[in-house]
Symmetry: C2
Subunit: 186 residues, 2 copies
């Protein structure tokens, strides 16, 4: 990946985040990169392809991240905290891409949409298994369905997207973990 191509992907993520994918034009993007719109196509295949790659790479970050957490020997409680940090770290390190991944995936073309849903499903299933394991061993509360707990946790973290100071504050991160700790740990 050349420097120019990287620059295009970075600016595309910024632009898609700000305007939304359909409202972001290739001419907007070219302006930000500092070249003509037609010149973009020497580096990229299509507008769609940029969206596909942004969404795929974010999905991979989540799945690789959770795999690493689950494969290390730790308490289930600590693994849950590491998953929370995984979400916050991705938001911190890829502030534009993560918003595109979260808000613009519905504009993916059909085949990439199937991949996206599969990747997300795979992630949620791993997360759910962790919760179920904790419920069986008495670490996590049993009164709520594991799938609901996963949905509540993932959803609850999304307000932090785009909130740089929140993501940078260890104190705020601790409060987020405390909220979820109170919600699910026995």
């Amino acid at each position: 990946m050349t420097q120019r191509k990287k620059e295009i992907y970075i600016q595309a993520a910024n632009l898609f985040k700000e305007k939304g994918y359909p409202a972001a034009s290739m001419r907007d993007l070219a302006d930000r990169v500092g070249i003509e719109a037609s010149s973009l196509y020497s580096h990229i295949k299509s507008k769609e392809q940029i969206l596909i790659e942004i969404c795929q790479s974010c999905g991979d970050l989540f799945n690789k991240g959770i795999d690493e957490i689950l494969n290390v020997e730790d308490s289930l409680k600590f693994k849950l905290f590491r998953i929370i940090d995984l979400h916050l770290n991705i938001a911190q390190n890829r502030p534009s891409s993560i918003v595109v991944f979260t808000d613009e995936w519905k504009h993916l073309p059909e085949s990439a949409l199937l991949d996206f849903r599969q990747s997300r499903k795979s992630y949620e299933n791993k997360f759910e298994q962790l919760i179920k394991l904790g419920q069986e061993s008495g670490v996590f509360k049993k009164e709520m369905k594991a799938k609901l707990i996963v949905n509540m946790i993932i959803s609850s973290l999304k307000w932090t997207l785009n909130k740089k100071e929140t993501l940078n504050s260890d104190k705020t991160r601790d409060e987020i973990k405390l909220f979820i700790h109170n919600a699910v740990i026995t």
Copy 2:
């Protein structure tokens, strides 16, 4: 508001939800209503105006809803549960509009955007005051900032949008309330 105009707003909300505002065309909308695109403009002023009214009316639902809850004499804990039901009820009763309100507000024109942010801010401030009151009286946990609690709660409920069976299930609603109860009630 004539029947035809109502129909246009309903179909517009459905369409904006499905495709996103920028990708939804007035020709799409006209097809769903069963008239020509140009005929839409006998009933509505512009595409933008539809978005503005959808977002305004949802904002009003939240603000009127919370005002009613806060003005009735109830325990703070019960008021919190009523706020949760307010969110779930709006999602249940206006399944398309609420998604447009949540996901498409950034496409509002400048002046409407100011109104939108003000309405949302107003809602969040009232919610925050309730949490602070509860923290002072020892009903809600003090270890987390009130604003963070509000953000976590509002965000945590958003996964239920578009999940009709979740919104229709009293049992699931109870689990959602239990999650939040555990998180914030002493």
